[in-house]
């Protein structure tokens, strides 16, 4: 995959004398790839997006798109010359223009006929044929979202940036729209960077995810990598619920409060382990066993069950299949079904 966007050591201070909002940000996105910047609010992800779009100027670092330098110490290509499309959180549709006019807004260099054809084509791509004449306020939230995507896709930008694109949609609409928009982007073959604070959104939408915290990227990887093999405590906790175990490691195994468990990599001495609830299961406590706990709560959710187990004064979460027979008060043992993940100690 050829590299399309590369961000190098990007730093931005807001205000200019304040602490960096984005610091030494480095990542690259390949052609046609969907990349997500995921992090809590205030982590600098939206600022990063605005830097790439050209709305803000970095204090240090460089941005290259398609091999061409867009921003560094001496260069600043203005937003309108970058060939980068942006879909805003509030969609930012022009209320005085109808859907077709909105989509055609960026098609400056085309002839009238070409323009018309391109508008038709893009509107069909996002599945809005028949809505061309509607003004934005006459469209539903999901339809507005699609007009915004179409408007951004129409000029065929090299790169599309999505700023929390689904947060304005209600929960029901969000999942279906997400899948449809992903299909549209993949069909158009557009390289995409999205920022979001919703881990489910990032995991299901992106090819690769960069988890951000305090202006820095803590880990980059495929959704599976960052979910199953978080590098730091922050990544482990931000991507979903997890059980943290203070343990004593010795090579590929460690002694933990729940017993001896296998590790995903070699470690020595005191380490912090992460075990996702679905990587644990329950079994009946063996009489005289040292690691027995008791079931504190059981939440039946249809396709699975979440147990809360009290062991040595700590609570552990366990997701199991819906046939697990234990009830609150039962004495159980926790059993890992995957190796525990060793977290880096440096990152607090």
């Amino acid at each position: 995959m050829r590299e399309l966007l590369s961000v190098n050591d990007l730093t931005k201070r807001l205000p200019a004398t304040g602490p960096p909002v984005v610091s030494a940000l480095t990542f690259s996105v390949g052609e046609g790839e969907i990349f997500a910047l995921l992090g809590p609010s205030g982590c600098g992800k939206t600022t990063s997006l605005r830097l790439i779009a050209g709305f803000e100027r970095p204090n240090a670092g460089a941005i290259r798109i398609g091999g061409q330098c867009m921003a560094d110490a001496t260069t600043h290509v203005p937003a309108e010359k970058r060939g980068v499309g942006v879909v805003f959180q509030d969609f930012a549709l022009f209320p005085h223009l109808n859907a077709a006019e909105n989509v055609g807004f960026g098609l400056l260099s085309l002839s009238r006929a070409e323009r018309k054809r391109r508008i038709e084509e893009t509107i069909r791509l996002v599945g809005l044929a028949g809505f061309e004449e509607r003004k934005p306020h006459e469209l539903s939230g999901g339809q507005q979202q699609r007009v915004a995507i179409a408007r951004t896709l129409a000029p065929k930008p090299d790169l599309i940036l999505l700023d929390e694109p689904f947060s304005n949609l209600d929960a029901l609409l969000r999942q279906t729209t997400r899948q449809e928009i992903r299909d549209v982007l993949k069909e158009a073959g557009t390289t995409t960077v999205m920022v979001t604070h919703d881990q489910e959104e990032a995991l299901s939408f992106a090819d690769r995810v960069g988890v951000m915290r305090n202006g820095r990227i803590e880990q980059i990887g495929t959704p599976e990598e960052v979910y199953y093999r978080p590098r730091t405590l922050f990544v482990a906790q931000f991507l979903g619920r997890t059980n943290l175990l203070l343990s004593d490691a010795d090579g590929m195994e460690a002694d933990t409060p729940v017993g001896r468990v296998a590790l995903n990599r070699k470690a020595q001495g005191p380490v912090l382990l992460s075990l996702r609830p679905e990587h644990l299961t329950l079994k009946e406590a063996t009489p005289g066993g040292t690691c027995a706990g008791s079931v504190l709560a059981r939440a039946f959710k249809g396709h699975d069950i979440t147990f809360t187990v009290l062991l040595d004064g700590s609570e552990y979460l366990v997701h199991t299949h819906n046939g697990m027979p234990f009830q609150p008060g039962d004495s159980v043992e926790l059993e890992p079904i995957e190796p525990a993940v060793v977290l880096e100690t440096s990152a607090g």
């Binding site: 203005p78 549709l93 005085h96």
Partner: protein, 526 residues
């Protein structure tokens, strides 16, 4: 200062910088000239000028006038606002209109009406044989200014009353408070910001008023300033008076800011507010209607009939003069309205999009230009133009610039409200779709500002057309607007001759007030 400089060095284009510089220079520099002129005198003379007993007399008069107008205005505006929003009074919309229409009648026309109605030659005596002494002096000034300015209080209070959360009242009642306690402890505190804003506007009008006090012969700072300038040409004393008047205005502004500091009164809960509950008046119904009808008669009925009456008494044939005056008013007010709006646009834009300390300072400068009593402002501009740009003195251009700088603040508000409807992301979207910053603004934001701009233009046009003192001091020789004609004829008790000019002002103004009312009634989008 360095921060301001650093700010100005940002890559802004001429179309933002030029208006900002004009505003800053146009408002601040003349005031500096005023100070310079006052301090030309040596210390002894200056002390003599400032610490005269006459000044104390003017000071007391000005304060008494402001207090009287505020008291009487509140006595009208509070019940009127309450009756038209919170009771089952019939014809609430009509009475609301009567609370707004006086805006179309400037103070000096109110004064004209009072003078032309009372006394042995007045309309009352002529039509009904009722002879009451001619209203003048303090009572006349208070009455005229109250009738002309109470709509500012009324409108503010009305908006506040409509915005109150009825749940608060209901909570107070459920906690055992009676009607009076609810009124005093729950409603009144919430009306404070609105009252304070309205009172400030009324106060600024009183401080700046020249037409009413001069016609009623009641000596305030403004009137003394005019006499000083027009009669004796003692410019140092005039400059001193202007500075004292400015100081008084500054105190009013500070007081208002102090009253409002830390005051944040709005609903804290979520969920849609419930509908307002209206009170039945019971036995008070009669007095309430009497009050509303009486106010409407005084503030709109009598002025309209009086002007119409004198209109038919006037000899025909002065139509050419009227046309000339109308043209004079239009030729100054229309360009001023456009200029003020053009200046207000970048200020409102920066205020909404990149609020920062220098921008807030700039907004304050605009507001300062508005709050400056017009006579003092005009005097400052005269000193400035005579000293630095003598070729511009007494030209139509300078008059237009003076109007524009003075009334610009009136256009900032509506443009700002419109800007809040246009999120910045729309302009950024236009940027990413290949537009330069200026074109992005013009294509994405500007179309949404049209109504705000229109309202701004209308406001300033209306104000400039009614304006008297600035016109008086700055207009070219022989340039007589409608307002100047009304004042001139009334000053000589030629009520018939003044009538056509007054009627024209009232007609044009009510047309604009109607337009503004219609605009504000409609939602901004769709």
């Amino acid at each position: 200062m360095t921060r301001v400089l650093a700010y100005l060095r940002r890559p802004w284009s001429w179309y933002v910088l030029a208006p900002i510089l004009l505003v800053g220079v146009g408002v601040i520099v003349p005031v500096i000239y005023l100070v310079l002129r006052a301090f030309e005198a040596d210390a002894n003379t200056l002390g003599d000028l400032v610490f005269r007993t006459r000044n104390l007399h003017l000071f007391v008069n000005t304060l008494l006038l402001a207090a009287g107008v505020l008291a009487l205005g509140s006595a009208i505006a509070f019940p009127m606002a309450w009756l038209t929003t919170r009771t089952h009074t019939r014809f609430r919309r009509v009475f609301t209109l009567f609370g707004v229409l006086p805006l179309a009648i400037p103070g000096y026309i109110m004064a004209y009406v009072l003078l032309a109605t009372t006394g042995s030659y007045g309309t009352l005596a002529r039509l009904f044989g009722i002879e009451i002494p001619r209203i003048g002096g303090y009572a006349g000034a208070v009455l005229a200014l109250t009738l002309a300015t109470f709509p500012y209080l009324f409108l503010n209070l009305r908006t506040a009353l409509l915005g109150l959360d009825p749940a608060l009242e209901e909570t107070a009642r459920s906690l055992g408070s009676g009607t009076r306690r609810v009124l005093l402890r729950v409603i009144a505190p919430q009306l404070r910001p609105a009252f304070s804003a309205g009172a400030l506007l009324v106060g600024l009008h009183v401080l700046g008023d020249f037409g009413v006090v001069s016609l009623m012969r009641f000596e305030t700072f403004s009137y003394a300033l005019y006499l000083q300038y027009a009669a004796s040409y003692d410019r140092v004393y005039a400059a001193c008076l202007a500075l004292m008047l400015l100081a008084l205005t500054g105190i009013a502004l500070l007081l208002e800011a102090r009253l409002l500091r830390g005051l944040l009164l709005h609903r804290t809960g979520s969920g849609p507010p419930r509908r307002i509950r209206r009170t039945s008046l019971g036995a008070w119904k009669g007095p309430a209607y009497l009050f509303l009808l009486g106010t409407a008669t005084l503030s709109v009925g009598i002025p309209a009939t009086t002007v119409a009456y004198w209109m038919f008494r006037t000899e025909p044939g002065s139509l050419a003069d009227l046309a000339q005056a109308l043209w004079a008013s239009l030729s100054a007010s229309a360009p001023a309205a456009l200029l003020a709006t053009a200046l207000a646009l970048p200020i409102a834009y920066l205020g909404v999009r990149s609020p920062s300390r220098p921008v807030r300072a700039l907004e304050r400068v605009a507001w300062f230009g508005y709050a400056t009593p017009p006579l003092a402002f005009a005097l400052a501009l005269i000193f400035f133009s005579l000293r630095s740009i003598p070729w511009a003195y007494q030209t139509l251009g300078l008059l237009i610039v003076a109007y524009g700088l003075h009334f610009m603040a009136e256009a900032v508000g509506p443009i700002r409200s419109a800007l809040y409807q246009a999120p910045p992301s729309m302009e950024e979207a236009a940027r990413t779709l290949g537009r330069s910053p200026l074109r992005a603004f013009l294509e994405a934001t500007f179309p949404l500002l049209r109504r705000g701009l229109l309202v701004g233009v209308a406001f300033v046009f209306l104000s400039a057309m009614k304006e008297l003192p600035i016109t008086f001091l700055l207009s070219p020789i022989g340039f007589q607007t409608l307002a100047v004609n009304v004042w001139g004829h009334t000053n000589e008790a030629l009520f018939g001759a003044a009538a056509p000019y007054a009627l024209t002002i009232m007609l044009i103004s009510s047309l604009f007030v109607g337009l503004l009312l219609m605009q504000s009634g409609r939602p901004m989008r769709s």
